[in-house]
Symmetry: C2
């Protein structure tokens, strides 16, 4: 259980992981998004998962409004379909660091002709190649006392330039 710290109240990764925080759930989402899995047996056969575990996970996803079901089919909601960029990003980490035989899948759009990647994109600078300077600053949903901590760390990392005696 999370909850002893600020996490379950504030952090969006924590809240995301309360919905998807173990591997089967993300693999079920992968199959729903990219392998056209719809029926219980689609997921079961493709994942080789025990039926009781699969039933629990699907019920959880329905309860979390990530899927809807009529009892026979499981369909993603908008909330569920919105996981596309996360799954591409997770796949590409695996492609780079855990795919000794090469990239197993290629994400495409435009009926398969164009290749798609998950990237960090700056509102001003466009797609970023160098991610070393990426940091987290407080957003509007961060309580003040926690925001102060993040901001203090930011100033430590980027000290204000020394003041000149006189401006040139």
């Amino acid at each position: 259980m999370l909850g002893r710290t600020y996490d379950s109240q504030v952090c969006s990764i924590s809240r995301m992981l309360e919905v998807f925080g173990e591997r089967w759930t993300l693999l079920i989402m992968r199959n729903a998004l990219f392998a056209d899995s719809v029926r219980f047996t689609d997921f079961q056969q493709s994942l080789g998962i025990a039926t009781n575990i699969l039933a629990t996970r699907l019920a959880h996803l329905v309860e979390q409004e990530v899927m809807t079901t009529d009892g026979a089919q499981y369909r993603l909601t908008a909330r569920g379909r919105d996981l596309v960029v996360s799954l591409i990003a997770l796949t590409e980490w695996g492609d780079r660091w855990a795919a000794p035989n090469g990239q197993p899948v290629r994400y495409t759009h435009d009926a398969g002709s164009h290749t798609v990647h998950a990237r960090a994109v700056c509102e001003e600078c466009g797609v970023l190649d160098d991610l070393d300077g990426v940091e987290a600053l407080p957003g509007p949903g961060m309580p003040d006392h926690l925001a102060q901590r993040l901001t203090a760390r930011h100033h430590q990392r980027h000290p204000a330039p020394p003041r000149l005696e006189e401006e040139q």
Copy 2:
């Protein structure tokens, strides 16, 4: 355990989840990447995680070469730092669907002045707004018999246009 299907041999999300497949591990990575957590106590205090669980998770991350340690400090390797885009994408899902008080953090680069997002980017078209057409096609690391399945599904989804008797 995964392994009864093709997943642990082929799929990059599966392999990724073998490294990071439960919530504490991703929260530890979040703290290492974005909260400057380095020492055991940094992680422990920030996450409020039981020390035995934290010790197991950190040892796993060191074993997986995502972190290195000298016994006192835990530092991310390149393999670990490369999780930035995934964590931004996961955060942004939480921001959109599970942050009733607004976005808790804002990712920035350039000393905090520019806002960064995780986006799907097409090699030809640039940043994609509409992700409905994104699909997975076989890459070079996909065994032939599995590639055939993905390709068949692709053709089902995008049937070839009917041939005309005579070209105009």
